[in-house]
């Protein structure tokens, strides 16, 4: 087999894996957009916030320690305990649910029925707010996150492919785990949406707010639930990316990776987010591989958007988005 083709296959596989991670972030956007029509700019910051909280709990950091020390002149630096990863994830989930409730109670309850651009703007305010709170609570230095996920090259794949092609493929163990978790997460979400009472309520709200309200579904409950689920997705994304790079401010920028995925897949479709993520992941990696060296590299950022743009010109509502029907 020609060498370039083998390299291409390796790039393709890695693109698929990266695409799954993008899809994970995009999923959080889709959930909230579907159920409440809010384009949640704060999703990236939520991932950062949840990862910060997780590390903080695991390391026994004192929330607002820096602030408390500054005000009272104390020297508090930590509780001095270590919480096991699993318990810490549960606790963080609790915090995210609390956050969801606060968001619903203090922000969106007063903004029901506003135009999308205004809801969008409220999430901008929320993003600013959370960014400040996260930093103030846990400090802005970089933190190592280790919940026991494996990392590094997968030896089995490396050896097998070496036997087949004479060139060992590089697949990151973390990416494999992320793919499995993302697949499970999507399956769980689908089951939840299709077969549970709460899930049906969620879908009903997504279809028609007023009709759902009239048959006795509590809108505020559904919205708190949706924000909690989005918080959970943010936490999973935060763990995956945080394990890679340490938990730090840049984690909030992963939202930028999810935007082209959303556009491509359609704002309203969960399968769209998955397929869109895969297309973007593979597309940008292959382009960088094939064309990147000719034009000087670092093309991934804009190529994802251009790819989405080309798709949209042919399908303005995204791959799986609901067809936009306009009447006068």
């Amino acid at each position: 087999m020609p060498e370039q083709l083998i390299f291409g296959m390796e790039v393709f596989l890695n693109g698929l894996m990266a695409g799954v991670l993008y899809a994970l972030v995009a999923l959080g956007f889709v959930l909230i957009y579907k159920a409440s029509g809010i384009f949640n700019y704060a999703q990236g910051v939520m991932a950062l916030f949840s990862a910060l909280t997780l590390v903080g709990i695991m390391e026994g950091q004192v929330p607002f320690g820096h602030l408390v020390n500054a005000i009272f002149g104390t020297e508090i630096h930590g509780f001095g305990w270590h919480v096991p990863a699993f318990a810490a994830i549960l606790l963080t989930m609790g915090v995210m649910i609390l956050l969801a409730w606060c968001v619903q109670r203090f922000v969106f309850r007063d903004l029901v029925g506003q135009e999308p651009i205004i809801l969008f703007m409220a999430t901008i305010g929320l993003a600013y707010f959370l960014e400040g709170v996260g930093d103030l609570m846990w400090g802005s230095e970089i933190k190592k996150l280790d919940v026991g996920l494996p990392q590094g090259i997968n030896a089995v794949i490396d050896e097998t492919t070496f036997e087949w092609f004479g060139y060992g493929f590089f697949i990151d163990n973390l990416d494999i785990v992320a793919t499995i978790i993302a697949a499970l997460l999507v399956a769980a979400l689908v089951v939840f949406a299709q077969y549970t009472k709460q899930g049906r309520a969620m879908r009903a709200v997504a279809d028609d707010h007023q009709a759902a309200l009239s048959v006795g579904i509590s809108l505020s409950f559904v919205w708190v639930m949706v924000w909690s689920v989005a918080g959970f997705v943010a936490l999973v994304a935060g763990i995956m990316w945080g394990t890679k790079s340490g938990v730090q401010f840049s984690l909030s920028l992963i939202a930028l990776k999810a935007l082209p995925v959303l556009m491509l897949g359609g704002f309203t479709s969960i399968p769209g987010a998955i397929v869109g993520g895969l297309i973007i992941g593979v597309g940008e990696k292959l382009f960088e591989f094939a064309v990147g060296p000719l034009v000087g590299g670092a093309t991934e950022n804009w190529f994802a958007y251009v790819l989405a743009l080309v798709f949209l010109v042919f399908r303005p509502q995204g791959l799986f988005g609901e067809k936009i029907i306009e009447r006068v």
Partner: protein, 427 residues
């Protein structure tokens, strides 16, 4: 930190501008934003060293050193605001700690007659004091760093790089592209193959770049990164089992922050440094005693001895030495920014000066002149020991390849001079 906000708030109206006689060293720091992890230790070190001088020696030459801090968040516009807010308070020297802010301030400080020291960043050709009268970048700049890295690889591969392949993995921006001309010239000279792989900001996803490296199998990698890019690159290098011995970062990609997240995988990673590492210096005992234990540290006090903290201390040390020499030269303790500039231009750092400050062998010996604002480009190589969780210098401070770098510096500064109608000084 024992600054009690409550009490401070009460006394807020009393707190006025610093008394005019004080020496003012504004610190344009960034403790927030995407690069906060790098900005915090530097700002702590910078402030702590001056606090030490105030507490232990009663200031510099009897004058208290003030370090008003201003948060830039690495944002050029906030940098402008900070500069304007502090320049009228009698600022002696600026250290903006950001390439973008440096470029903006180069013309401004020249017009305002305030020296600027960009230690290991900023505009490399500012080494040419004939064009850049108020900008200093001693003891080393990026081109020195690139040359030091290549020299080290040269030594590592037994004196010849002929037929070897060196890849520059870099931030896709002005900062990351700086070393490319130098490395191209060096490639011609030493006969190695050179290619550059850019990473776009923020650099959280580098699979493409590392797959490319894995395909092309370079013998050595030089790395110009900053922020999250550093952690991810080192992690990915560990993932593909690249030999860390052959992977070297510039000084901004060589702190504890960058290697710790990768755990044992980062063992053996190297970086170029222009100052010493570790906390095994008398000055740190004094800082512990007079500053941290006294509750006067700028940060939490847990950064003492880290690479970036040391860099802050070193920057403050060089500024304080220049101030001292300015005081001696002018026979007055109340110096102004013009005197400070003149003193920086004749600054000489010897082993004795460093020894006296409690920093023996902390940096290279060098002297500055009107023609040469950049010292001799002395840099050393440090290596990370993941077992001991510590950086150690594995080489002496050695000069860079001036025969390659000087022509490049002259060319770039001449272009700047002609574009901005600057006539050369230092006649």
């Amino acid at each position: 930190m024992k600054m009690k906000l409550a009490s401070l708030a009460l006394g807020a109206t009393v707190a006025a501008a610093p008394a005019m006689a004080d020496l003012v060293f504004p610190s344009l720091s960034y403790r927030t934003g995407p690069f906060a992890a790098g900005g915090i230790p530097f700002a702590d070190g910078y402030a702590d060293y001056f606090t030490l001088l105030n507490e232990r020696d009663g200031g510099i030459g009897g004058e208290i050193a003030q370090v008003p801090e201003c948060e830039t968040a690495y944002n050029t516009e906030k940098g402008v605001e900070c500069y304007e807010a502090t320049k009228d308070s009698g600022a002696l020297i600026y250290q903006p700690l950001s390439t973008g802010i440096t470029y903006q301030l180069i013309p401004k400080v020249t017009a305002d007659n305030i020296p600027m020291h960009t230690m290991g960043y900023g505009r490399t050709s500012a080494k040419n004091g004939k064009v850049f009268s108020h900008v200093f970048n001693y003891p080393a700049n990026y081109w020195d760093g690139a040359s030091a890295g290549v020299n080290h690889f040269l030594e590592q591969s037994g004196g010849s790089l002929d037929g070897k392949k060196i890849t520059l993995l870099h931030f896709n921006g002005a900062y990351g592209r700086e070393p490319i001309p130098t490395l191209e010239a060096l490639a011609e000279k030493h006969g190695f193959e050179f290619n550059a792989i850019p990473i776009d900001y923020p650099g959280q996803e580098q699979k493409s770049q590392w797959l490319q490296i894995r395909r092309e199998r370079p013998d050595y990698i030089l790395f110009w990164g900053w922020g999250v890019m550093n952690q991810v690159a080192i992690q990915e290098a560990a993932n593909i089992r690249f030999n860390m011995e052959n992977f070297m970062g510039i000084w901004w990609s060589g702190s504890e922050n960058d290697v710790k997240p990768a755990g044992m995988g980062a063992d053996g990673y190297k970086s170029v440094q222009f100052h010493n590492v570790g906390s095994d210096f008398p000055v740190f005992d004094d800082i512990q005693k007079y500053v941290v234990d006294a509750g006067k540290a700028a940060g939490a006090g847990d950064q003492v001895g880290t690479v970036l903290y040391n860099r802050g201390v070193y920057a403050a040390f060089l500024a304080a030495e220049a101030a001292k020499q300015a005081q001696e030269a002018n026979g007055t303790s109340a110096i102004d920014s013009g005197m400070m500039r003149d003193a920086m231009e004749s600054l000489t750092i010897t082993a004795e000066t460093m020894e006296a400050a409690g920093l023996p062998n902390f940096g290279p010996e060098f002297s500055v002149s009107c023609m040469n604002h950049g010292g001799d480009g002395m840099a050393a190589i440090a290596q990370w020991d993941a077992e001991a969780q510590a950086w150690t210098l594995i080489s002496e401070f050695a000069p860079s390849d001036a025969s390659v770098i000087d022509p490049l510096i002259n060319a770039d500064s001449a272009a700047y001079a002609s574009e901005n109608n600057i006539s050369e000084g230092c006649s």
